[in-house]
Symmetry: C2
Subunit: 199 residues, 2 copies
DNA sequence: GAATGCGGAGAACGACCGTTCTCCACTCTG
DNA sequence: CAGAGTGGAGAACGGTCGTTCTCCGCATTC
């Protein structure tokens, strides 16, 4: 829980608070108290609140990429790897603390007022799109497929967040299956590639 | 531009400001000045800022429904009506002022702190899902198709907003075409829509 | 013309924001 | 033990927020 690095500890705490209630709803004093550091130390670690926000987003980006990559790498076939993303989403949506994509939320709250936050969201989404595009290319799918799968993932996140229910992940997965099947029809319909044995 | 109803005029102005910069970034004094009303009058029209936010969302909900409905009704076949939604999105994304879905933005900014805002977003999205589900049913499509098409629309909105480019609408449309085609295979590609399943 | 009420302009208010500063207990070093 | 320096607690600061209040010009009415 508490890491050895005080900086990381502050970022973890800030992430939890910002994500749960919004950035502007959490004051520096509350963050200081929750993180158990003095205000002086807080400002010694970070020059401003905005820098904390950016550090939180950077951490979220890293954790997201690790989580997706780990889940994808657990699948063996190129096709299963494409769909693994939605299983990752399903697990995420089922968490009690789930409240949508932190980048979308931050973009909506601060994107118009902080170019750096907007840019962080842009880079994060772009990075995911590139990753999926690489998966599609490896699987031998057409270039169109990547963006379409990403749009499904984005839509599932906001839908699940606002509805407060996790079923959007499964719906997006089924849609993705259709798109993948249509874009990359398997030569053998019986499908020797169908080894849906996970973990 | 300026409506006869001062209340509506305030809501229009608030919508423009809130949408462009975020709710919390716009103070009541700035809104008062932009709308050209006195602070006293502003608080005579609305008891609090939150009520203005809710009125803005209600107006946005109405305009969105009218816009989508008008666009859908311009199409003649049930299949074209399903895809008309994405053409509407394409036009919207191309607007200079486009900055994502106002409900998603408001939810990200205030959803955790204002149950009423969260509920407004939920109702709005749910209403759209019901509308699409009705279109799907009329077209004779399976129940699964509606949520999938909605997820594509949601994903296109956030993708276009964060990327700052409108191409997500076309990508979502192409994906939707595939989903529709897979779920409702036309016997002849020329398309006899009359041969759909009856109610 | 005097009384009355309405609405506009904007000052005032209390709260809270992000950030800085003051003060002091404490721990090292000699 | 004396002195220096570090870091914690939290007060202070300037600013802004949402909201309320005061003041005053002005139109209406008897």
């Amino acid at each position: 829980m508490d890491s050895t690095d005080p900086r990381e500890h502050v970022v973890e705490t800030a992430d939890r608070l910002f994500y749960a209630r919004g950035v502007q709803a959490v004051g520096m004093d509350e963050l200081r108290q929750a993180a158990g550091v003095s205000l002086k130390r807080l400002y010694a670690l970070f020059p401003s609140k905005e820098e904390i926000v950016l550090a939180v987003l950077a951490r979220r980006h890293r954790l997201w990429e690790e989580g997706v990559r780990e889940r994808v790498d657990r699948s063996d076939t190129p096709r299963a790897r494409l769909l693994a993303v939605y299983d990752h989403l399903a697990d995420w949506f089922a968490e009690d603390s789930f409240r949508g994509c932190g980048f979308i939320n931050a973009f909506g709250e601060l994107g118009a007022v902080s170019p750096q936050v907007a840019e962080a969201a842009r880079v994060h989404k772009r990075s995911f799109q590139d990753y999926v595009a690489a998966l599609v290319e490896t699987a031998g799918g057409p270039a169109d497929l990547g963006p379409q799968l990403c749009i499904l993932a984005e839509g599932a996140q906001t839908t699940a967040a606002i509805a407060g229910t996790p079923e959007a992940a499964a719906q997006a997965r089924r849609a993705a299956e259709v798109l993948v099947q249509a874009a990359m029809p398997s030569e053998r319909s019986g499908g020797g590639a169908q080894r849906t044995r996970d973990a």
